[in-house]
């Protein structure tokens, strides 16, 4: 693989890592504030994480 492809793929993964990390972090904070809402928060977190991962995979397939 050429260098631009590798750099592009690396940037995509950095973006996804930051994004999903943010989601996980705010989900944890919200659960800490209100433990009764854990189920709903977990559902929303998984949905948002799957959407971002979808973008990441699409970008990876487009890059390679």
């Amino acid at each position: 693989m050429e260098i631009p492809v590798m750099v592009g793929a690396g940037l995509v993964v950095i973006g996804v890592g930051i994004g999903i990390g943010n989601i996980g972090g705010s989900a944890l904070e919200a659960i800490a504030r209100q433990p009764e809402a854990t189920n709903r928060i977990q559902t929303v977190m998984l949905i948002a994480a799957a959407l971002i991962e979808g973008v990441a995979f699409a970008a990876l397939f487009a890059v390679s």
Partner: protein, 362 residues
């Protein structure tokens, strides 16, 4: 009792298939590849669709175990023959005077010697007939469809006698209620969620079962091909747009409605409306790409890690890569269920916007 017989007959037919046979071909041409390249070829062969069902190869005798599948080609008349005529891609099959050759899982029309003319990109330029054959993917889809029909038919018949379920119904009832109460009702609304429940349930269970079976050594990789996920997303697209109410189209073509005067709309709609119209196509497209990419990436990672076991061949490397592959497998279990849930939930979301009722401020 009758359904039990049908169920076992279906399973029996799937496992002990009359097409089972062995063929005595050794692939000597591939001895010249290094071990790593062989593994890569094996992985790619495992993850691709094929015209015959290749279970495994006995290395010592060189005989392949599996069974051939029917090949149906439409090329000035319908040609129907078994893929054993192709002999794993080595021989030219002849049918009604025309010759066909399989190259990289695609069928091309050639002459009697099997010449393929390649262009600059090393792609064959021969004519491809319309290929409607029962490949591995089609066979799996039919088998899983039959399995789901039998299972859920039994579950549905269970409810005729009494409201407390027994058997299969006892197992699927919480999941069906989950799809109804957490996916369909919140997103579509109370009035019209029942119309869409059939499709939502089907697609949820289908994607979940297919993903789970993809983790087994059977080589079921239906969602690995863009064609199948495209078909699923196409059905979502068709249902959304064919059952769209007037409010749905109004939301797309006139998003701001009464809240903006006409001169404001003139300024902003040339930007907003094309994006909304593109969104009609991009949303199912993203569904297709998301499912395809997640499952394909998962399969490739898992197969590569399993191949790593054989590359290391040491006392430390192989157990470590086995452990890694094991954990990735557990993650894949989660991804299997999650992708089914995401596809169903996003479909329900799109159906909800399609079945929108006019609110009072518009």
């Amino acid at each position: 009792m009758r359904s039990r017989i049908i169920y076992s007959l279906v399973l029996f037919a799937l496992i002990f298939n009359p097409f089972v046979g062995t063929s005595q071909h050794s692939e000597l041409a591939e001895d010249s590849l290094t071990f790593q390249e062989e593994i890569k070829l094996d992985i790619r062969h495992h993850l691709e669709d094929g015209h015959d069902y290749h279970l495994f190869t006995d290395e010592s005798t060189g005989s392949h175990y599996g069974f051939p599948l029917p090949v149906i080609l439409v090329d000035e008349g319908v040609h129907f023959f078994m893929s054993s005529a192709f002999h794993h891609g080595e021989e030219v099959a002849e049918s009604k005077g025309k010759f066909y050759l399989v190259y990289h899982n695609k069928v091309y029309r050639t002459d009697a010697e099997g010449t393929l003319s390649f262009d600059a990109d090393h792609h064959p330029t021969n004519v491809k007939p319309l290929d409607l054959s029962i490949t591995k993917n089609v066979f799996h889809i039919i088998a899983i469809g039959l399995l789901m029909l039998v299972l859920f038919g039994r579950a549905a018949r269970n409810y005729k006698n009494d409201l407390v379920p027994r058997g299969v119904a006892k197992f699927v009832e919480p999941i069906v209620l989950f799809v109804r109460d957490d996916i369909a009702r919140p997103n579509i609304g109370e009035k019209s969620y029942r119309k869409y429940m059939g499709f939502l349930l089907t697609v949820f269970f289908f994607i979940w079962i297919v993903n789970l079976l993809g983790l087994t050594p059977l080589g079921v990789n239906i969602n690995n091909s863009v064609a199948v996920t495209f078909a699923l997303a196409l059905i979502t697209f068709l249902i959304t747009n064919l059952s769209g109410t007037k409010t749905y189209w109004l939301h797309i073509l006139d998003p701001l409605g009464k809240s903006m005067p006409w001169y404001g709309k003139l300024g902003i709609y040339p930007l907003l409306v094309p994006i909304e119209i593109l969104g009609i196509f991009i949303k199912p497209f993203a569904l297709m790409i998301r499912l395809y990419a997640n499952i394909t990436a998962g399969h490739i990672v898992m197969m590569s890690l399993l191949g790593l076991i054989f590359i290391f061949k040491s006392w430390i490397g192989s157990p470590l890569s086995f452990g890694l592959a094991f954990f990735i497998g557990i993650l894949e279990l989660l991804v299997a269920a999650l992708q089914a849930y995401i596809f169903t939930m996003l479909s329900a979301l799109y159906f909800g916007s399609a079945a929108a009722e006019p609110h009072h401020d518009h």
